[in-house]
């Protein structure tokens, strides 16, 4: 073990209360950043969950629509125009919109209807734990997620309820299909969805376009745009990006998360900087002695940088453990905190950078130390 590392670690561990305070600062900061970014990822994943699970090559949506939940509508006549485009194999309409679910006591709770055809080109519920998707083709049959049992007062296939005054029966139970708006998704066939929402048969929300095998998707997308007016034609990735951008930045939610993360980094950096600076001041005569015996600036920087890195390694280790626990405990919550391996690596790099930046004040102080002070004392 190098003497620089030995000196750095012993100086750091010598004053345990200060070291603990420093670690608390780092852990506090890193966990906060982890949670904020994890929420951002979780939020981002949740707002695109329908897009991610739809079976389509191109989304055709109203020209003013921003996201999947947008209530703008298209004329169903567009379907024929889409099928005229070279390379388009199928254009499946999807209807979305809000409605009211009546509880057994007569109270109403809002639900978000997702109506689709089940010919393989629409949006079918996934993670089915009870019932069959095919049952949704029957009129009056709906699919709900088990996470909304309490909200909807149903808990198994076969239970009855009412939507907008119309009788429905639960035919499918899914697991983990949550809405970030907290309004439960309810799956059904497209005709029923129109009824529950109150949308005339001549309108639909989106079209899911499948291209013929071997067809260039981008070329087809461009052809759709030039052939059909008043619409957007987007690949799933483009629609995901547009939806995320709208919900995270159009609403300010993402900016708030990033601002929180940035503040956390600043607070963490300030705490570590304060700790390193006070530690350096306390050991000023040692650094002056090092300079007197001929230590180069680089050698002295290494001592301080090692202290910063030790703070980073230990602080990040503790923060990562807390982060894993947070992920575990929020796994079933309305808004998951998603921490990916990539995010962990980025946070580790951020922690190291944060601690090294924190060392700057201490380094500046040491650079100014005059070795003559060891003679004067």
């Amino acid at each position: 073990m190098s003497l620089v590392f030995t000196l750095a670690s012993r100086n750091l561990f010598q004053d345990r209360p200060r070291f603990v305070a420093s670690l608390i600062g780092i852990v506090f900061s890193v966990v906060l950043v982890m949670v904020q970014i994890g929420l951002y990822f979780g939020f981002g994943r949740m707002v695109t969950t329908m897009i991610d699970h739809a079976s389509t090559d191109i989304w055709v949506i109203s020209s003013g629509a921003k996201c999947f939940e947008d209530l703008s509508v298209l004329n169903t006549g567009i379907r024929n125009r889409l099928l005229e485009v070279d390379g388009v194999a199928e254009a499946t309409p999807v209807v979305v919109g809000f409605s009211a679910w009546m509880l057994p006591d007569g109270a109403m709770t809002p639900v978000f209807l997702v109506g689709s055809e089940f010919n393989g080109g629409g949006i079918s519920p996934w993670n089915v734990v009870e019932g069959t998707v095919q049952s949704l083709a029957e009129s009056g049959t709906v699919g709900v997620d088990r996470s909304y049992y309490d909200r909807l007062r149903v808990s198994r296939v076969g239970e009855a309820a009412q939507i907008r005054g119309m009788d429905v029966t639960v035919g499918v139970i899914t697991d983990g299909i949550r809405s970030f708006t907290t309004t439960p998704y309810v799956f059904t066939n497209i005709a029923d969805a129109r009824s529950y929402i109150g949308l005339p048969a001549s309108f639909t929300s989106h079209f899911l376009v499948r291209v013929k095998p071997g067809t260039d998707i981008e070329r087809t997308r461009q052809a759709i745009l030039s052939h059909v007016a008043g619409i957007q034609a987007l690949t799933p990735d483009q629609f995901s990006d547009q939806s995320r951008s709208f919900w995270l930045f159009g609403t300010g939610a993402g900016a708030a998360l990033f601002a929180g993360a940035l503040l956390s980094v600043i607070v963490g950096t300030a705490i570590v900087a304060q700790t390193l600076y006070s530690s350096t001041k306390e050991h000023l005569y040692e650094f002056a002695t090092m300079r007197a015996i001929g230590a180069s600036n680089g050698y002295i920087y290494k001592v301080i940088i090692w202290q910063a890195l030790l703070n980073a390694f230990i602080g990040f280790g503790l923060a990562a453990l807390i982060g894993v626990a947070v992920v575990h405990f929020t796994a079933k919550s309305a808004l998951q905190i998603v921490i990916t391996p990539g995010l962990m690596i980025e946070l580790f790099v951020l922690t190291v950078v944060m601690c090294i930046i924190s060392a700057v004040a201490a380094i500046v102080r040491v650079v100014r130390v005059d070795p003559v002070i060891v003679l004067a004392q």
Binding site: S2, L3, V4, T6, L7, R10, N11, Q14, Y285, E286, A288, T289, M290, R291, A292, I293, G294, A295, S296, N297, Y299, D370, P371, V372, V374, L375, A376, Q377
Partner: protein
């Protein structure tokens, strides 16, 4: 090397300006040769520490020139001065300035480590030098576990382990009792004589003159008088017998220490 290890010519040092202007050194010229222990004596505020700082390349003179092992320090940048200190000069401080979180061996090893001389050879060298100052049984101890005299011996070991050409000691006995003070001076004297180093000791204590090959007196920033072993100008010097003092000092050291080297 031939010639002086440290050669200072017409060194002036001025602090401040205007009414606050203080000339700490006035046209000081001196040389320090290998194999000699020089004592720099003077009252408080006479310029001893300033001169030591300039000779030790910690402070730049206002005018004049200092050469260390033939290298001029004129206009040298701080990193260059640090390199000269690292290569040619060892320091012993009044307050020892040991690193409290490092063991005796690690404190000594530090002087090698800053030179990039680490690894098993460096550790062996550090241990050898620690043993040579009579602290073989204390290698793993921390400074807080040592007496003042032992701490100063660690500081001396740190100063000599990299085998610098010059050792500059600032009041090395001021914090020690008489016996430990004499032991410290005996080591420094032995280093000068046996290892052909130029040793400069700044002190107030005339009882230590017996170890000196040469005594320089400084007053108001000027060197006012010089005595060598041959001159008996100062009656204080004649009453001190180096051999007797070394014998006293040897009681602090086990056999085989630096004081026994070169005496067979």
């Amino acid at each position: 090397m031939t010639g002086p290890i440290i050669d200072a010519r017409s060194v002036n040092k001025i602090y401040g300006s205007g009414p606050a202007r203080v000339q700490a050194l006035k046209d000081v010229s001196l040389t320090l040769d290998g194999g000699k222990l020089t004592v720099l004596m003077g009252p408080s505020g006479s310029g001893k520490t300033t001169l030591l700082s300039i000779l030790g390349c910690m402070l730049a003179p206002t005018s004049g020139n200092v050469e260390v092992c033939g290298v001029s320090t004129n206009g040298a940048r701080p990193e260059e001065l640090a390199r000269i200190r690292r290569q040619h000069i060892g320091f012993v401080f009044q307050s020892y300035h040991l690193f409290p979180t490092l063991t005796v061996t690690e404190n000594v090893l530090l002087a090698l480590d800053v030179r990039g001389d680490h690894g098993p050879k460096g550790i062996a060298k550090a241990k050898e030098v620690v043993a040579s100052v009579g602290l073989a049984s204390k290698m793993g101890s921390f400074p807080r576990e040592l007496s003042g005299g032992e701490q100063q011996r660690v500081a001396i070991a740190r100063a000599i382990v990299a085998e610098p050409s010059a050792i500059l000691a600032d009041e090395p006995t001021a914090s020690l009792d008489a016996t430990n003070g004499q032991a410290t001076m005996a080591i420094l004297s032995a280093i000068a004589r046996e290892r052909e180093r130029a040793v400069l000791v700044v002190t107030h204590d005339p009882r230590l003159f017996g170890f000196a090959d040469r005594i320089l007196y400084i007053e108001d920033g000027s060197l006012t008088r010089e005595e060598t072993a041959d001159s008996k100008a100062d009656p204080m010097r004649t009453v001190v017998d180096r051999d007797r003092m070394e014998n006293v000092a040897r009681t602090k050291f086990p056999a085989g220490s630096i004081l026994d080297q070169g005496r067979s």
